[in-house]
Point group: C2
Chain length 235, copies 2
């Protein structure tokens, strides 16, 4: 049966993540990290539904730590309660575009503040991440590039020296990770991203807040545009 095979593969993926996290102290924390990663990596399909017992059966625990983990996942909007089942939350086309609009202003602020606050070592780190990604793109490693892209944006928020902003940026990043496709898959996009990232770092290095802000906003706006073109072909 097709359904059973699919269930087996997801169960296997979850078991693997579980091995990775279960060494941590509290098992409720481990469950949270496991399920979170399973959802973000799309091992658990959006829209699929589970009862608390399903999940506790999968991980060999009682319902209590599962409940606690799911409670946090619901708070993160990664799961939703549908009737009396727990569903992996889906993300709509509309939401994708909405998120990009918010992401643009947050990343803009991060870049702006980084241009004012970033220390020379932090700027050096941004340059280093840029180089890493350049190498990764050259070798055509999409997954690696995707990861480095996230690291770049994370570090940009870090360099802004605004911890609240950092948390907000990370929230948004996690949402972006849930999209079914990445803009890296779009023809020529990785190269453009590299140029746009470089423009942001250049503006930061020359202590130009306005320029950095504009460069970051442009970058996200350009990503949004690619996303808009990609949307029809993705589910």
């Amino acid at each position: 049966m097709k359904v059973d095979i699919a269930k087996d593969t997801t169960a296997a993926a979850i078991a693997q993540l579980w091995d990775q996290f279960s060494t941590l102290g509290r098992s409720s924390e481990a469950v949270y990290l496991t399920l979170r990663e399973a959802i973000l990596s799309r091992a658990l399909e959006p829209g699929s539904q589970y009862s608390e017992e399903d999940l506790s059966g999968m991980l060999g625990l009682s319902r209590t730590p599962i409940r606690e983990a799911c409670l946090r996942l619901v708070a993160d909007h990664l799961m939703v309660r549908r009737g009396r089942r727990l569903a992996i939350s889906e993300i709509s086309h509309e939401e994708v575009l909405e998120i990009y609009d918010v992401r643009a202003v947050l990343d803009g602020l991060a870049a702006r503040q980084a241009a004012i606050q970033a220390t020379p070592p932090e700027i050096a780190q941004l340059r280093w991440l840029l180089e890493q990604m350049s190498r990764s793109v050259a070798s055509g490693n999409t997954a690696e590039s995707f990861k480095l892209n996230h690291e770049f944006h994370d570090y940009l928020a870090y360099a802004s020296h605004n911890s609240f902003l950092q948390v907000q940026v990370r929230t948004v990043q996690d949402r972006v990770r849930r999209f079914p496709t990445t803009t890296f898959e779009y023809q020529g996009r990785p190269q453009t991203i590299l140029q746009e990232h470089a423009a942001i770092v250049d503006a930061i290095e020359s202590k130009d807040p306005e320029g950095a802000d504009a460069a970051a906003v442009d970058h996200i706006a350009s990503s949004r545009l690619i996303r808009l073109k990609m949307l029809p072909e993705s589910t």
Copy 2:
């Protein structure tokens, strides 16, 4: 004993909130709403610590629904685990200013999008909120003005037609509510706020996204400045 009196008054305040929310179906949800409101209204003092049993004793429930509520409160950053106790999280001066920076760009985006997306009835509602606040300020009702101010900003986010942004704005609003003082208490500030709100609505009504954005950013920047002046005198 002074400590006991303080504990009695907080217990009384919580009992009152509990009466208000306990009618809801799940008691874990009711506990969450009760404690959340208690923290935001400063009935539970920042920095004060409780064990799970303390709280379950207060509300006459077992630890289970308390744990679930606290888990969500920790996720909201309203509580933090300190060792094995639950502490009401404190907010630092630095964090206050950081939040204002983020709030500026989010409200700016909300105003910008509202200028593009808001329908005539929505604009009318903004005008109505403006009038209500004008009346409230004239009568010197600070608490009411404070509440209407929040409603204005909430509705601004709603009128942006971006539900993700709406959630983000609300997150930030909740943080602002936790500050020990409000900028409304600053001499002449309520009148200025009214003018600044009016400027935002004017720009939205004349379909001027740039103007609306700038007006909102200016508004928050001006609030931030007042906050900066007020900070030394608040704990």
